[in-house]
Amino acid sequence: MLTLVAKILKVLNSEASPWQIGWAIALGLFAGILPFGLLTLLIILIVCLLTINLSTFIVVWGLTSGLMLLFADPLERLTWQYAQNDSLLQLLANTETLQLLHLHHTLTLGAFVLGAVLLLPIAWLSKMLVMQYRVRVMNSVQKWKIMQMLKASKLFALYEKLN
C-alpha cells in the first residue's frame, strides 16, 4: 500500500508530461472496464508502444478491474436492454472481426462503448487535474507539516529510494 502511494506521488511529482499521465489514467480505466480479451491486449500494445506512463496505467487498470466486480452486472443488464437493435445485431453477425473482439458478448460491448465514450474526457480531465496539482498544490504540499513528517518517515525513505 505504501509502495502504491509512493508510486503515485512519484509520478505526480515527476517530469512526466500531464498528457502521458492523463492518457495512462484513461486507458487504464478502459482496460479495467473491459473483460480481459483481445481488446485489452490491443490497449496494452498501445500503452507499450506510446510513451504513456506505465505505472499509472497499471495502478488504474487494477483499481478499475476491482470496481467492475460491482458494476459488471448492472452494465451487462443495461447493454442487453439497449443492444437489441436489428441493424447492430446484423452488423455484428456479418463482421467476424467484431466477433473476434467479442463485441457480440453483452458485457464486452457495453464496456467497450462506455470506455470509448469516457476515453477522451477522462484523459483531458486527468491532464487538467495533474496540471492544477503541479501549479497550485505541489509546492504548498511540500511545505505542509504533515509532509515534513512524511519526509522523515519510512514512506519518504521509500520514495527517495525509488528516485
Binding site: L45, C48, D86, L92, N94, Q99, H104, H105
Partner: protein, 583 residues
C-alpha cells in the same frame, strides 16, 4: 512519442501471460468446475486433474466423481478421463466448437473409495433414472391395495351415518311442537263442557258458537302441525332410503372393483402391474421434464397470446451472447463424441454427433447410437435416437436390450419382501418427446426369474407362480405431459399376479364388507325402527286430532239443531198462549 522498447515490453508481457495461462488455467478450471458442479448437484465432486493442451487446443479432465446425494457411498456419475479438443478460431470468436469429445470409463452408481459429503438433501426432482431402483418396488400389503382401489363404501357409510344423525335431530326438534295427549284430552273436555251446557238465549248461543269455533281453529292448527311433521318424516324416510340405496350400490360396486382387480384380463381397466409399477414409472418419466427445461431457453418464443398467459421469467441464453440473426457457429457444438460406458460387466461405446442446442444453425439433429454384443452380463444392447431443437424440441429414442443379467435384489421389505435371486431382463421400445409431451411404448420381459419369499402365504404363493413362468412380460405405454404422464402397464400375468397378491386383499375386503353390512343393518334397524314408531305415533295423533275436529263439528251441528228446536218450542208455546188468551 513512440517508446522504442515498446514491442519488447509487449512481447515480454504476452509471453508471461501465456505462461501464466498454461500453468494456472488447469487448476483454475478445476476449481471452477468443482465449485459449479457441487453447487448444481449439492454433493461432493472430485476431479483429480484438469490440464490444458495448447497445440491443438484441448482440455483434459482426469478422474471425475460426482457423489450421489441420495447415497453418499456411491457416485451418481464418474469417468476415468475426458478430453475435449476445441477449435481455435470459433473459440477466439467466443463459441465453443469441440471437434472431438471422448469420455472413458463412464459409470453410473459406482462405489466410492470414501463416503462423499452431501451439501443438500436431494429432492424428488434430483433423482437419477436407475434401472435397479426401478425394479425395487415395495410390494403393497392388503390395506394399501384396498387404499389404492379407491373404494367408495367407507365414504358412503359415513355419509349415511351423518344423515341419520341429522334427521334424528330434526325430528326431535319437531316433537316439541306436537300436541300432547293431555292437550288433546283437554280439548275433548272443553268441547264436552260446552255441549253439555244449557243455552239460555240467542246471545248465549252466539257466544257458545264462537267459543266452539275458536276451539275448532285451535284443533285445525294442531292438525296442520301434525301434517307438517308427517311430511318431514316422509322426506327424511326418503332421504335415508336413498342413502341406504347408494351405500348398497357403492358396496356392490366396490366388490365388483376388487373382483375386477383380481380377475383382470388383457385390456381391463387397471392391472395389478399398473398398481405395482404405474406410479413408479410415471415418476421416472416425469424426470424427463428436466431435459425439456434445459432445452426451453433455446425454443423459439411462442405466439403473443400464449406468451401473455404464462408469467414465466425472461428467457436468458447462457454467457449473455447477443442473439445475432445469423451467427456463424452455435454457442456450443460438439461435432463428435465418444463415450465409453461401463455396463453389464464390460464396456459399451456410445457414439454421438452434433451435440448442440441450436440445430437450425448446423442444419442437423443430434444423433446418438450404441451397439454392443456379448458382454459378460449383457447379451446385446442397441440404442439409437436423435434430438433436435427447432420450432419444437423433438427427441426420438429406440432401444433393444437383450439378456441383461440381474444382480440379486430384494423387492419390498419386511413381511412383503420378495427376493429375486436371478433373472434376465430384455426390453425393447421407443420414446418420442415433443416439447413436454411424451409418447412412449415399451415391452419389458423378465426371463428365467428365480424368486424366493419368506413372507406371508400369498407372497410365497406368488413367488411359486412367478418361478413357474418362463417369461414375465410387461407392456408399458405412456402418453401426455411429461410432468403428469398417463402410464399404462399391462401384463398377461396380471390375472395370475392379481389372484395371488389380491387373495389377501380380497379376503380383507370381504371381511370389511360383511362387518360393514352387519353394522349397517343394526344401524338401519334401530334408525328405521325408531322412525316407524314415530310414524305410528303420528298417525295416531293425526287420527285423534281429526276425531276431535269432526266431533266438534258434529257436536256443534247437534247443539245448533238443539238450540233451534228449543227456540222453535219456545215460539210455539208463546203463540199457543197468545191464541188461548184470545178465546
Amino acid at each position: 512519442m513512440i517508446r522504442k522498447s515498446g514491442w519488447l515490453v509487449f512481447i515480454v508481457f504476452f509471453a508471461a501471460l501465456l505462461a501464466l495461462v498454461y500453468l494456472f488455467a488447469g487448476p483454475a478450471i478445476r476449481i471452477g468446475m468443482v465449485y459449479s458442479l457441487e453447487k448444481a448437484v449439492g454433493a461432493e465432486v472430485n476431479i483429480s486433474k484438469v490440464s490444458l493442451e495448447l497445440a491443438p487446443l484441448a482440455l483434459r479432465v482426469n478422474n471425475l466423481q460426482i457423489t450421489d446425494a441420495a447415497k453418499p457411498t456411491h457416485n451418481s456419475l464418474s469417468f476415468g478421463h475426458a478430453r475435449a479438443a476445441l477449435e481455435l478460431w470459433p473459440a477466439l470468436l467466443g463459441y465453443y466448437v469441440i471437434e472431438e469429445l471422448t469420455v472413458d470409463g463412464l459409470q453410473y452408481g459406482a462405489q466410492r473409495s470414501s463416503e462423499g459429503a452431501v451439501y443438500r438433501q436431494p429432492g424428488a426432482e434430483g433423482e437419477k433414472v436407475d434401472i435397479a431402483k426401478l425394479l425395487q418396488v415395495d410390494l403393497p400389503d392388503a390395506d394399501e391395495l384396498i387404499g389404492r382401489a379407491n373404494l367408495q363404501t367407507p365414504a358412503k357409510a359415513e355419509a349415511l351415518k351423518q344423515l341419520a344423525a341429522t334427521e334424528q335431530q330434526q325430528l326431535k326438534g319437531l316433537q316439541d311442537q306436537l300436541p300432547t295427549k293431555d292437550t288433546l284430552a283437554q280439548y275433548q273436555a272443553e268441547i264436552k263442557a260446552l255441549t253439555d251446557s244449557k243455552i239460555a238465549n240467542a246471545a248465549d248461543l252466539a257466544a257458545k258458537a264462537q267459543q266452539l269455533q275458536q276451539l275448532k281453529d285451535k284443533l285445525n292448527a294442531e292438525k296442520a302441525k301434525v301434517d307438517q311433521v308427517k311430511q318431514q318424516l316422509t322426506l327424511s324416510k326418503d332421504n335415508l332410503q336413498q342413502a341406504v340405496a347408494e351405500l348398497k350400490a357403492a358396496s356392490s360396486e366396490d366388490y365388483a372393483k376388487v373382483q375386477q382387480l383380481a380377475n383382470l384380463s388383457d385390456g381391463g381397466l387397471a392391472g395389478i402391474s399398473q398398481i405395482l409399477l404405474g406410479d413408479l414409472w410415471g415418476q421416472r418419466i416425469a424426470q424427463l421434464q428436466s431435459l425439456y427445461l434445459l432445452a426451453k431457453p433455446y425454443l423459439p418464443e411462442k405466439t403473443a397470446s400464449t406468451a401473455e398467459n404464462s408469467a414465466e421469467p425472461e428467457v436468458i441464453l447462457p454467457n449473455r451472447i447477443l442473439p445475432l440473426p445469423g451467427q456463424p457457429y452455435p454457442d456450443f457444438w460438439v461435432k463428435q463424441a465418444r463415450v465409453n460406458w461401463l455396463i453389464g460387466g464390460g464396456e459399451a461405446t456410445i457414439a454421438l454427433q452434433d451435440i448442440t442446442a441450436q440445430h437450425a444453425l448446423i442444419n442437423s439433429a443430434t444423433k446418438f447410437s450404441l451397439d454392443v454384443k456379448q458382454l459378460p452380463q449383457l447379451a446385446a444392447f442397441n440404442l439409437s435416437g436423435d434430438f433436435a431443437i427447432l420450432q419444437q424440441m423433438v427427441t426420438n429414442l429406440n432401444w433393444q436390450l437383450d439378456g441383461l443379467n440381474l444382480q440379486p435384489m430384494t423387492l419390498g421389505k419386511g413381511d412383503s419382501a420378495l427376493d429375486l435371486a436371478a433373472g434376465l431382463i430384455s426390453s425393447g421400445g421407443k420414446l418420442n418427446l415433443t416439447d413436454n409431451r411424451i409418447t412412449q411404448q415399451a415391452n419389458v420381459v423378465l426371463n428365467a426369474a428365480n424368486f424366493n419369499s419368506s413372507g406371508n402365504k400369498y407372497l410365497q404363493q406368488l413367488a411359486g407362480l412367478l418361478n413357474q413362468q418362463q417369461q414375465i412380460p410387461f407392456n408399458i405405454t405412456t402418453t401426455g405431459l411429461v410432468s403428469a404422464p398417463d402410464v399404462s402397464i399391462r401384463s398377461s400375468l396380471d390375472k395370475l399376479l392379481g389372484d395371488a397378491l389380491l387373495g389377501e386383499a380380497k379376503q380383507k375386503v370381504a371381511a370389511y364388507q360383511s362387518e360393514l353390512q352387519a353394522k349397517l343393518n343394526s344401524q338401519l334397524q334401530s334408525g328405521l325402527a325408531g322412525q316407524q314408531d314415530w310414524a305410528a305415533l303420528l298417525t295416531q295423533q293425526d287420527g285423534a286430532v281429526t276425531d276431535a275436529g269432526s266431533s266438534i263439528e258434529t257436536m256443534l251441528n247437534a247443539k245448533l239443531a238443539d238450540v233451534k228446536d228449543q227456540a222453535k218450542d219456545k215460539l210455539k208455546d208463546k203463540l199457543l198462549n197468545k191464541l188461548g188468551g184470545g178465546n
